[in-house]
Amino acid sequence: MVDGGSSHDEFGPLEREVMDAVWAARAPVAVREVVDRLNEDRADPLAYTTVMTVMSRLAEKRALERRKVGRGYVYEAAAPDAAGIAVKELLRRHGDVAVAHLVDEARADPELLDRLRRLLEDRDG
């Protein structure tokens, strides 16, 4: 277990293993990398298609983000741990029940972040 803690009861056992492998990678990963990582210490190796199905399901649950790179997909965790995923998913689905704008917004525009950094540098200077 690298990240995420062990309390993410919204995941099944294999989903939890996959999430742990993705968190451990700390970078976008392809299905093959996750399969290799999961099979490292496993006597009965998991099939590629099994892991792919689990990762697709996790993407549908928005625990993983999927994007196309070249001819395949890479996946990354939507948050660094299960608590983050659970809370953010709740806020995403029911945005009206909380006022949540000090949350990392969807794909913040790098140009906006640069403006903010410049502003802070000006204030510091």
């Binding site: 709740l90 009206d96 029940v97 006022v99 794909r107 903010l116």
Partner: protein
């Protein structure tokens, strides 16, 4: 059922009562003449009246569904915060007390950087440990000052009521645009309040830490408003110190006007088609008096007063710290 839920249900009950008053117009001028008419009712008036009834039923069903969904979601969110919560570190506890939020701040054990205000009737602030550890003391005070504004203005409750009305008034998409503009305005106002209390530098620093970070942070939640547009407005306000302009959508306004005109025309057509006010007088066997009409209108006063007093009481309570361990 806890007291917050009871209060919320009470408030919704009052809102439903108000809606019932609106429906009185439908009953008095459409339904009563329709039922009282001797022989078969006029076809055109009947069709228009049926269309109005259908629209009102759809609006009521949508509002009721969204209100139920929001109450359930608020409960789920509070449960999640409780389940994922941890004891407050002393620096967070001290800062919360200093900012007048004693008993209203919860820590979520997550490395994701976020904070938010939740709880429609007893608003509280949730802040993640991942966010807390990145903030220096001034930035933490700025975050709490920002969230304190939302707490004191009962913004989760206002957002919930807004969502309910937006869903009910589906014929007028401009309501959704107005609601979004209102929420955006609240966010900018919370930033201004935090800027006044702590300065723009700490607020900007906290905002950057919530938005920026390793790659895994970025593909993430989209909150109620479009992130990019709101973030741009917030940065502009920090840069200039002025409130950014928000332009109304003319297309939305046009569609809403069309929706309102359509509904009004249907209503008027139904009333006229079923005999108008004369048919109501005939059904009631007497004419309306001015005093009777005024007395009827005055019946609106108690529920309006009840809503105003309930809101005032909630807002006063939101301005006070809570005892540690107070029930949600």
């Amino acid at each position: 059922m806890d007291s917050a839920t009871r209060n919320l249900l009470g408030l919704l009950g009052v809102a439903i009562t108000l809606t019932a008053y609106v429906l009185c117009g439908f009953v008095t001028y459409i339904l009563v003449p329709f039922l009282a008419v001797a022989g078969s009712p006029p076809l055109a008036g009947t069709l228009a009246g049926a269309a109005v009834a259908a629209l009102l039923l759809v609006a009521a069903a949508r509002a009721s569904a969204v209100a139920r969904e929001q109450v359930r979601a608020a409960h789920l969110l509070a449960t999640q915060v409780e389940a994922r919560g941890g004891p407050l570190p002393s620096r967070l506890h001290r800062a919360a007390v200093e900012m007048g939020l004693g008993g209203r701040v919860e820590l979520i054990e997550s490395r994701a950087p976020f904070s938010f205000v939740y709880g429609p009737l007893e608003p509280r602030v949730a802040i993640s440990r991942g966010f807390l550890v990145t903030l220096d003391p001034d930035e933490l005070r700025a975050v709490l000052a920002h969230e304190r504004y939302h707490v004191r203005k009962l913004d989760p409750l206002r957002a919930l009521v807004g969502a309910t009305f937006v869903r009910a008034f589906f014929l007028m998409p401009f309501c959704a645009a107005l609601r979004d503009r209102y929420l955006k305005g609240r966010e900018l106002a919370a930033d201004r309040a935090a800027g006044r209390a702590c300065g723009t530098r700490p607020l900007g620093g906290a905002l950057l830490k919530a938005m920026d970070g390793p790659a895994w942070r970025k593909p993430s939640v989209s909150a109620a408003l479009g992130g990019g547009e709101l973030l741009a407005a917030r940065i502009e306000q920090l840069e200039t110190g002025l409130v950014p302009r928000t332009d109304a959508s003319l297309a939305g306004l046009g569609r809403s006007a069309l929706g309102a005109v359509t509904f009004t025309c249907l209503f008027v057509a139904a009333i006229a088609g079923l005999g108008g006010i004369g048919a109501v007088h005939a059904a009631a066997a007497r004419e309306f008096s001015v005093s009777g009409t005024l007395l009827g209108a005055a019946c609106l006063a108690p529920p309006v007063l009840a809503v105003a007093l309930s809101y005032r009481r909630l807002a006063r309570r939101a301005g006070r710290p809570l005892p540690i361990g107070a029930r949600r």
